[in-house]
């Protein structure tokens, strides 16, 4: 399970950022990035299948737990190597590393999904896959001049 985003629905209100920060004592894991005035895109942990942050983590604080890339704060030394190994730049470090834990201790699932007013975030894998397919098809069609 991971959180998926429907970019076409995102209105760039940064509610997910705020919800994540409230859930994690002010240390949020979501960044909404704005590309010119064309799109707003929340960037957060993808819970990669082959997660490079876990490869870089020497102490075993970051590890794969099934589909989730989990984090054990008690083992973290805060070296900052996971921050450098993440291709998406979503892990950050102060005294320890901070990354999306899918709000494991929260009842009712991730706070960002519940807070999103535009229903842009979801944890529905099948829907995310079908959207990604149709998007990819559209990109190819537009490239060839098909309308």
């Amino acid at each position: 399970m991971s959180v998926y985003i429907d970019i076409d629905r995102c209105i760039g209100c940064r509610t997910c950022e705020a919800a994540c920060q409230m859930e994690h004592d002010g240390q949020g894991h979501i960044n909404v990035h704005y590309v010119e005035d064309l799109a707003a895109i929340p960037i957060f942990c993808r819970h990669c299948e082959e997660a490079y942050c876990t490869t870089a983590c020497i102490t075993g604080a970051l590890y794969k737990d099934g589909e989730i890339t989990a984090f054990d704060a008690s083992k973290c030394s805060g070296c900052g190597l996971c921050t450098l190994a993440c291709p998406f730049g979503v892990v950050w470090t102060d005294r320890i590393a901070h990354k999306c834990d899918l709000c494991r201790d929260r009842e009712g699932g991730p706070a960002c999904i519940n807070a999103c007013p535009a229903q842009a975030l979801s944890d529905d894998f099948d829907r995310a896959v079908s959207m990604a397919r149709s998007r990819a098809a559209l990109t190819i069609a537009a490239f060839r001049g098909v309308r």
Binding site: I7, D8, N31, H33, Y34, V35, E36, D37, L38, A39, I41, I43, Y52, T55, A56, I58, T59, S77, G78, C79, G80, L81, T83, L84, A85, C86, P87, F88, G89, V90, V91, W92, T93, R95, I96, S134, R135, A136, L138, T139, A141, A142, F143, R147
Partner: protein, 160 residues
């Protein structure tokens, strides 16, 4: 006593973060990171256990290990130029990650880019994916608008 192997140390923040008695000080100034190990008499080996490159070791004996200081070059982000890690940390990352993923589809060496710029790159590439779908419904995503609103702005041209 802690002994530091200067050929192994990466200059990361691990020992500085875990030391319970603040005997290790790390600071960043003028494009260099400096780590200073005070001579430590505590009976604790947290920093030794946590060191990612096994550069620290405990030495027994009474001879006082002198305080040690190492300084490291900071690497600048290839896009924004901010100093975000020591050169050795990046080299270590390059040595542990598989070679074939160190460049993305566009040939960009993403390890040499700071996390902030990595997120921006990701946002840009996702935007490029959704623009064709939006062009049908939203005139603001038309080719003319994207290219023309502020003149031929290079940042916007990249999205076309």
């Amino acid at each position: 006593m802690i002994r530091v192997d200067s050929s192994l140390c990466l200059g990361c923040r691990s020992c500085f973060n875990v030391c319970p008695s603040q005997n290790i000080i790390r600071s960043e100034a003028n494009g260099r990171a400096t780590v200073h190990w005070k001579s430590c008499k505590e009976e604790c080996d947290l920093c030794v256990k946590m060191c990612p490159s096994k550069a620290l070791s405990l030495v027994s004996g009474d001879e006082a290990e002198p305080p040690c200081e190492l300084s490291f070059d900071l690497a600048a982000c290839n896009i924004c130029g901010s100093l975000y890690a020591t050169e050795l940390m990046l080299e270590w990352i390059e040595s542990v990650l598989p070679e074939k993923i160190q460049k993305d589809a566009a040939g960009l060496e993403w390890i040499r880019i700071c996390p902030e710029c990595r997120r921006n790159k990701e946002a840009e590439s996702l935007t490029r994916l959704v623009l064709p779908g939006r062009r049908k419904e939203d005139w603001r995503c038309s080719w003319l608008f994207t290219a023309g609103k502020r003149g031929l702005h290079p940042e916007r041209m990249k999205l076309l």
